[in-house]
């Protein structure tokens, strides 16, 4: 890794939801701030900036990660996916997003982006996940509106539909 000057802005390039992006930032800039304020991708939200609430979760090279605990310079050359990249087309929702809508699994929606990014990665890795596994995974996210019950229901429903889609 090149040595970076703390007081200078550096050019950062990576792939965001399949498209190349580029911007400049000091080494201390958080990935969450870079996505939101430099690139204008405001779908990723910031809830605690100490890694507990999970609202800022994005996928870095397929794996979920807290954007608030990642520096923008760390993702140089990486493949980043955020909530803006989940829907198959404008005006359409993914199976997971659709399940959230059907089950009223969001209210204010502020924590939702991070939850979707974790679940999206998890259901791809573990398509047969049961409720216990999903509750365990979701314990990395704080939601203050829903009481989690509808989120679990949506995740279980999405898992079934994703399996059906995979087998179709």
């Amino acid at each position: 890794m090149p040595r970076l000057s703390a007081t200078q802005r550096h050019s950062i390039r990576f792939t965001l939801n399949g498209a190349p992006v580029q911007g400049e930032a000091e080494p201390r800039m958080l990935l969450s701030d870079f996505l939101r304020h430099v690139l204008g991708a405001t779908g990723t939200h910031v809830g605690c900036e100490h890694g507990v609430c999970g609202a800022c979760t994005v996928q870095i090279d397929v794996s979920p990660a807290r954007a608030c605990l990642t520096l923008a310079v760390q993702v140089q050359g990486c493949d980043i996916r955020t909530v803006e990249g989940l829907a198959p087309a404008p005006g359409r929702l993914s199976i997971l997003q659709e399940a959230f809508r059907r089950h009223h699994a969001l209210q204010c929606g502020f924590c939702t982006a991070g939850i979707l990014m974790s679940l999206d990665a998890f259901l791809r890795a573990q398509p047969n996940a049961d409720e216990a596994a999903l509750r365990d995974l979701l314990s990395g996210h704080l939601c203050r509106c829903t009481g989690y019950t509808p989120i679990i229901a949506a995740a279980l429903d999405a898992a079934v539909r994703l399996r059906d889609t995979a087998h179709a």
């Binding site: 800039m29 405001t42 809830g47 605690c48 609430c53 509106c145």
Partner: protein, 975 residues
């Protein structure tokens, strides 16, 4: 649904809000961009619970490139007025500390810079010198004559005291078969929305006006408070809210002091100023529910009938009385008898100030505090009299035949069939099976218990209830206050499409969807045809003081007034269509996107054509109907009258009913409470959207479960705040929150347009005490204090641990330790080292420059890392009790941007075989940011730092030989 007889209201439609929120296209405060030239603010906050500000040194921060302005309390005071306080008391309430700090997290300096990173850099360069003052955090202690006083003008810490008497409580107690009492202390908790506060403020000096964009939630009575603080009339404060809000639960009402602060900063800078709160700021200093100490006594017959209640409530509002406080204490005033018919009530209400964050709106607002006392007491009555707790509840419930029922203290319970709802819950919630399960579990020696609660859930607050804090004579002088104005505007544009605006400012409750359903029903349209706007712009929209999203007022008040506005619009549409359809207006039917004649669907006009006609051809219309269709309706319920001469207060319009019961098991070893079975029966009147009602119930349940089991805003006795992260303030996750069984019994409210009542807060009132009653039942506890942490219950199960370290007061951040080291040097040499600044510089971990200010006093700059928090501290050390070369006392204090500490260590030097045993004992107290966010790590970190010090001392006194000499020595060569 296509047939005209069906209603959209009552269906769980997918929400119109969701597509945007699920795809990252929501527009929350920080997503909405800023005007060019916007500056960014960061706030330096008090690390002390109580201290005098001696000086604020800002020159280094001002010199930092990018810093535009640095504002202290004096600067803010120059352009603003103290926030108005809701009681008649001589005290001021500034949004930033003036001369003194009174709670950890209180703003002290605002830095405005070109970006947030630079603003935070500048905070580190500001040096504030404080003289700490004694702090008081306990409400009872705060009333003691020798307690530290927060606001000198008050003369003490009691901000308000009122007594109330309804019926003849003295006679009821005098003749009672039993007097049964309970003492409870309800802790502080907060609903912590995941989005924190955000404010963007601009000032126009030409018009002396402010334009503010903030995720404020109402009530908009606060608009008047802000305008007054900014010294402008209301029409020079334009307050706007973003389309989406990341949760509030009442908490975002508390952004208003920061609106004043940032507006003043924008004025000082001449540029727009934006501030986004971080999580530590939010936990320490946003808004939190009150803690309350209550003694409640009941006069009870032998059969368990409660004939009188005597309430003594001591409300702790923290360091300031911030509008609308002390409303938490009075919101329930009409409902102090809960779901019970009790005619004799005495109440003493006192409000006290302590060195903790100011309180404000929080889901449940006053309900949890009241019901925790009342429903714990109902369980105690059952236990004392040997009755079934369900029978005590049954005997006291307000009878259905008495509805609408006027309570002793003045509330008018609108509707309900409490007894039927309760029996239905017991049947459909499998109560019989739960009893059998408890028996079986207990037979196995497990700790299983059942709890019950019956509560009424008030909604749609009377804007006049808070005036009950004033005496009738004071109220007379101030003029009557009452009502709860709700408003909705519906308009048809040039192509006849329908837009709705309400001043409801939702934070995720799906208002847009429900309003579309309500209006679609009246206008014969589909919900997706209707566009709803719920954000507010006080310069352009209809609004009043009751506007906003609080007191569970959406379904009963806002959705109701939207229906009234739609009915007004429908009447106008019917008048426009009647001559064209050749029928009288009352025979015009609106259905399926058309207006048609009653009984003849073929005699029809498209909705859009009629709705747009005043735009295109007003000349063809009668003058009284030629204006474009735009109807603004206002509604305030006549039942919400002002408090009476006798202090009777109809504090809320609607009263839902909740009956909860639950089975819990407390783990025999860990003390962990597991909710095994939870049933919650709601009567919230007409259900407008079942999915959203379920969401409100499960969400409120999760908040309540957190308050019952995990969450507490914790302060040390010196005022240090100890729960500044989500790793310290424990919010329940998907692992802890089970799915409650939700049941409904609908008794439509006769007082609301749609028959709906509020449902958003009830479980925050019923669930904490229901769980507490169940745990008390499981363990046979007499007193229960929340949160029911495993450690607390384990202590009850296992008794106090033998050989446990001397107990420090709960939550105190006092660090104690001792140790010793053996040093291969004579003690005279060690003594000399301890008194030599150059030597000390080498051995104090992280020391930069020790200076000797007197033969026994040193100062130093020290860099220390504790957990995630690395900071620079100014350290002062003083040596005393010098007993050369045997012993000395080292007293030290440290102060830095991240916190402060003080400690005292006693060091003894003993000779042993030519070496010296250096033994130490220390006691240290730590506060400030480091205590708030790294409290868990402090004991360990302190031990490490101190042992490093003595290890370094030993190295300095007896430098270790090179490694090859040590190796040879070990192998037996050499001396």
């Amino acid at each position: 649904m296509d047939s005209p007889g069906d209603k959209w209201v009552g269906q769980s439609l997918p929400r119109f809000e969701d597509a945007a929120l699920l795809t990252g296209r929501g527009r929350y405060f920080d997503d909405c961009g800023t005007p060019p030239g916007t500056l960014h603010a960061a706030i330096l906050r008090s690390p002390h619970g109580h201290a005098r500000i001696e000086s604020i040194e800002t020159s280094a921060a001002r010199a930092l490139p990018g810093v535009a302005a640095i504002l202290t309390g004096e600067d803010i005071r120059a352009t603003t007025t103290s926030l108005v306080v809701g009681v008649k008391a001589p005290m001021e309430c500034w949004p930033i500390a003036v001369e003194r700090v009174r709670y950890v997290g209180e703003p002290v300096v605002v830095v405005v810079a070109t970006d947030r990173y630079v603003a935070e850099d500048a905070l580190d360069l500001i040096e504030v010198r404080y003289t700490p003052l004694p702090a008081v955090t306990d409400p009872v202690t705060a009333l003691a004559p020798d307690a530290p006083v927060l606001h000198e003008g008050l003369g003490g810490n009691l901000a308000s005291e009122r007594r109330f008497r309804y019926g003849d409580p003295e006679a009821a107690f005098a003749t009672a078969a039993h007097r049964i009492a309970i003492d409870v202390a309800y802790p502080r908790s907060a609903c912590t929305p995941i989005e924190c506060y955000g404010v963007l403020a601009e000032y126009d000096p030409g018009e002396d006006s402010y334009d503010v964009f903030a995720n404020f939630q109402g009530p908009f009575s606060i608009h008047a408070v802000i305008a007054r603080a900014l010294r402008v009339p209301g029409n020079r404060l334009r307050l706007r809210t973003p389309p989406d809000s990341g949760g509030s639960f009442g908490v975002k009402q508390g952004v208003f002091p920061y609106i004043v602060l940032m507006a003043a900063a924008a004025r000082a800078c001449g540029r727009p100023v934006k501030w986004v709160e971080d999580r530590l700021e939010h936990l320490a200093a946003s808004s939190v529910a009150t803690n309350r100490v209550t003694r409640l006594e009941a006069a009870v017959t032998a059969e368990g009938l409660i004939t009188a209640l005597d309430w003594d409530q001591l409300e702790d509002c923290g360091a300031q009385l911030r509008a609308p406080e002390p409303a938490t204490l009075y919101r329930m005033h009409g409902n102090m008898t809960g779901a019970y018919a009790i005619r004799n009530v005495a109440i003493r209400n006192r409000v006290v100030l302590t060195n903790k964050a100011p309180t404000g709106l929080n889901r449940g607002f006053g309900g949890p505090q009241v019901y925790f006392a009342l429903e714990r007491l109902v369980q105690r009555i059952a236990i004392t009299l040997g009755l079934n707790p369900l029978d005590v509840i049954r005997r006291n419930l307000v009878p259905t035949s008495a509805m609408p029922y006027r309570t002793a203290s003045g509330a008018l319970l609108d509707s309900g069939d409490y007894a039927t709802a309760m029996e239905t819950a017991l049947r459909d919630g499998n109560h019989a099976a739960l009893l059998a399960k408890r028996d079986a579990a207990r037979a196995e020696g497990r700790h299983y218990g059942i709890g019950y609660t019956a509560v009424v859930e008030p909604s749609v607050s009377n804007m006049g209830y808070i005036t009950a804090v004033l005496t009738p004579a004071e109220r007379k002088r101030a003029g009557p206050k009452n009502g709860a104005q709700a408003t909705a505007t519906i308009q048809c544009d040039a192509v006849g499409s329908v837009s709705v605006h309400v001043a409801s400012v939702p934070q995720g409750q799906g208002h847009r969807t429900v309003l579309a359903q309500v209006v679609a029903d009246e206008l014969g349209l589909r919900p997706q045809d209707i566009r709803v706007v719920t954000e507010i712009d006080t310069a352009k929209d209809a609004w009043s003081i009751a506007s906003g999203n609080y007191a569970s007022r959406f379904a009963p008040a806002v959705a109701g007034v939207a229906r009234i506005a739609a009915q007004q619009l429908r009447a106008r549409l019917a008048r426009l269509a009647a001559p064209l359809l050749n029928v009288p207006p009352e025979d015009v039917v609106l259905a399926n996107g058309k207006l048609h004649a009653q009984g003849n669907a073929d005699n029809a006009l498209p909705f859009a054509r009629v709705a747009s006609s005043p735009h295109w051809a007003p000349g063809t219309l009668p003058p009284e109907d030629s204006a474009p269709l735009r109807e603004t309706a206002w509604w305030t319920p006549p039942e919400l009258t002002a408090p009476t001469e006798a202090d009777e207060v109809n504090s809320s319009l609607c009263h839902g009913f909740i009956f909860d019961f639950c089975g819990v098991e407390v783990d025999r070893i860990t003390g962990e409470t597991r909710i095994d079975h939870y049933v919650t029966m709601h009567d919230c009147g007409t259900v407008l959207h079942p999915g959203m009602v379920a969401g409100q119930v499960t969400g409120g349940f999760a908040h309540a479960l957190g308050a019952a089991l995990y969450e507490a805003h914790s302060y040390a006795p010196d005022g240090s705040f100890e729960t500044g992260t989500f790793a310290d303030y424990l919010v329940p996750t998907s692992m802890e929150v089970p799915a409650p069984i939700i049941l409904h019994h609908e008794s439509p409210s006769p007082f609301t347009p749609l028959g709906a009542k509020g449902v958003g807060e009830g479980n925050c009132m019923s669930t904490p005490v229901c769980i507490a009653n169940a745990v008390a039942d499981a363990l046979g506890l007499h007193d229960v204090t929340l949160p029911l942490l495993p450690a607390t219950l384990a202590a009850h199960l296992h008794g106090a641990k033998p050989n446990a370290p001397a107990a420090t007061p709960k939550g105190e951040r006092l660090l104690r330790g001792e140790g010793q080291a053996r040093v291969n040097a004579p003690r005279e040499e060690l003594w000399a080292l301890l008194l030599d600044p150059d030597a000390l510089m080498a051995i104090v971990p992280g020391a930069h420059g020790i200076q000797r200010t007197s033969p026994t006093d040193y100062t130093a700059e020290v860099t220390l890392g504790i957990g995630p928090v690395k900071g620079r501290y100014r350290v002062a050390l003083a040596l005393s009790n010098l007993d050369e070369p045997h012993a000395l006392t080292l007293a030290g204090s440290a102060q830095g941007a991240l916190g402060f500490g003080q400690g005292r260590g006693h060091v003894t030097l003993t000779e042993a075989d030519g070496a010296t045993i250096i033994a130490y004992r220390y006691e240290a107290a730590v506060g400030g940011k480091v205590a708030s966010i790294a409290g868990r790590l402090l004991d360990g970190a302190t031990r490490v730092v101190i042992s490093q010090f003595f290890a370094a001392l030993a190295r300095q006194a007896a430098p270790q030989a090179p490694w090859w000499q040590r190796l040879l020595h070990r192998l037996g060569f050499g001396a």
